[in-house]
């Protein structure tokens, strides 16, 4: 009996928190960014990869018994490899493109050479002994 009222009170308390003043809401909107911000990059990656992994496992092995159409499974199971290949290609293409379009600053080098000559002349006049 007393157990029952206790639980009952607990439920009311939680509901009050939800409804009055939106305590839980503000608590979560405050806490989530803090957690996300203080996560190291490593943790962010672990977090992201496990989310994808869980989604993949759910569909491929039908862990929730959702009785998904078999086509879903066929698309899902090679997904990780597919994603890896796409990412690899993207990386290679990006780096390759950036190497190919890396500016060669010929003019800057020429300008510097001319300025070095000018500077040497002027510094000598001012009495600098190298």
């Amino acid at each position: 009996m007393s157990h029952h009222t206790f639980r009952h009170r607990g439920v009311i308390k939680v509901r009050c928190l939800f409804e009055s003043g939106g305590f839980c809401h503000s608590y979560f909107t405050l806490l989530c960014p803090i957690i996300l911000c203080t996560m190291t990059k490593l943790l962010e990656w672990v977090f992201g990869v496990s989310l994808i992994g869980i989604a993949w496992g759910l569909v491929t092995f039908d862990l929730l018994d959702l009785q998904l159409p078999p086509q879903y499974k066929d698309v899902a199971w090679p997904m990780p490899i597919y994603l890896l290949v796409v990412f690899g290609c993207y990386s290679l293409a990006t780096v390759g493109y950036r190497v190919a379009t890396f500016n060669d600053c010929e003019d800057a080098a020429k300008e510097l050479q001319a300025q070095i000559k000018e500077a040497k002349g002027e510094l000598k006049k001012k009495g600098l002994k190298m």
């Binding site: 990059k41 990386s91 500077a119 040497k120 190298m130």
Partner: protein, 264 residues
């Protein structure tokens, strides 16, 4: 051209205040340039000459702090001569007795900086002082906490790099961008302008040494929610003196990258 702007501002103060108080900025802001040197006897006079030239043309208040680590080639003696030529208010010498590394050279230099902004650059002529006025304008434009020179975007670029070096550089940059998402395109470059108090705060937090130090500065800046501006620069490989990009450097870069990845 900037010269005229100064005169113009004096004549028409009204106009100046409407354009964001250019005049008062020019008078109250001071830029301390930190030049760490180790065996740069040939480069130091040239970089100082260029700095004097471009600061003179743009009219900003400045000082140059030379931090020499007991270079055996006599860089310090050259610096003393330069101090005589340009005045001890412009050239400030803060030498140390032995080679203690780049990171601590910055810490040492900042302690003696009297400006409210600090510019960090290499003394080997790969960072050209002509970009400094652009850094300053960029900083004023957005009120940025730090402005970083970038070789990787816009008109930025390099000179004297072969394909191998370009590939390593671009590859390392890509991996770093993917892993750390730092909000700046050039992490290992060391041509930057900082608000002095921001630099002090960052330097206090940085633990790594050498190459990785520059990268950590940007990553810490992101952690502290600093605002970052970028100016494309051309990076011309050093003409005089020794360069030292070897396999060793790549290994220490990777180590540093992974450390930052796991801890920040």
């Amino acid at each position: 051209m900037q010269h005229f702007r100064c005169l113009y501002d004096v004549e028409d103060a009204n106009m100046a205040s409407r354009r964001g108080n250019t005049k008062t900025h020019l008078q109250s802001d001071k830029y301390s340039v930190l030049l760490p040197t180790y065996n740069e006897r040939e480069n130091l006079p040239l970089i100082v000459w260029l700095l004097v030239k471009y600061f003179g043309e743009s009219g900003y208040n400045y000082e140059i702090i030379v931090i020499d680590d007991g270079s055996p080639d006599g860089t310090l003696q050259i610096a003393e001569q330069l101090q005589k030529i340009y005045g001890s208010d412009k050239i400030i010498l803060r030498p140390r007795a032995q080679k203690l590394g780049l990171g601590t050279a910055y810490i040492h230099g900042v302690k003696h900086a009297t400006g409210n902004f600090v510019i960090i650059m290499d003394a080997d002529l790969s960072h050209h002082p002509k970009f400094i006025p652009q850094f300053i304008e960029k900083q004023k434009e957005g009120g940025y906490d730090l402005v970083s020179g970038t070789r990787y975007s816009g008109d930025g670029g390099v000179y004297g790099w072969d394909l191998r070096r370009k590939l390593i550089s671009r590859g390392a940059n890509f991996v770093t961008q993917v892993l750390l998402r730092p909000g700046a395109s050039d992490l290992t470059g060391s041509f930057r302008l900082y608000k002095k108090e921001v630099l002090e705060k960052l330097v206090e937090r940085c633990v790594s040494k050498g190459y990785v130090f520059q990268m950590e500065m940007i990553v810490r800046a992101r952690q502290l929610d600093c605002t970052i501006g970028e100016v494309p620069i051309s990076f011309v490989d050093r003409v005089y003196g020794e360069s030292k990009l070897g396999g060793n450097e790549i290994v220490s870069f990777l180590k540093g990258l992974l450390t930052l990845f796991a801890t920040t």
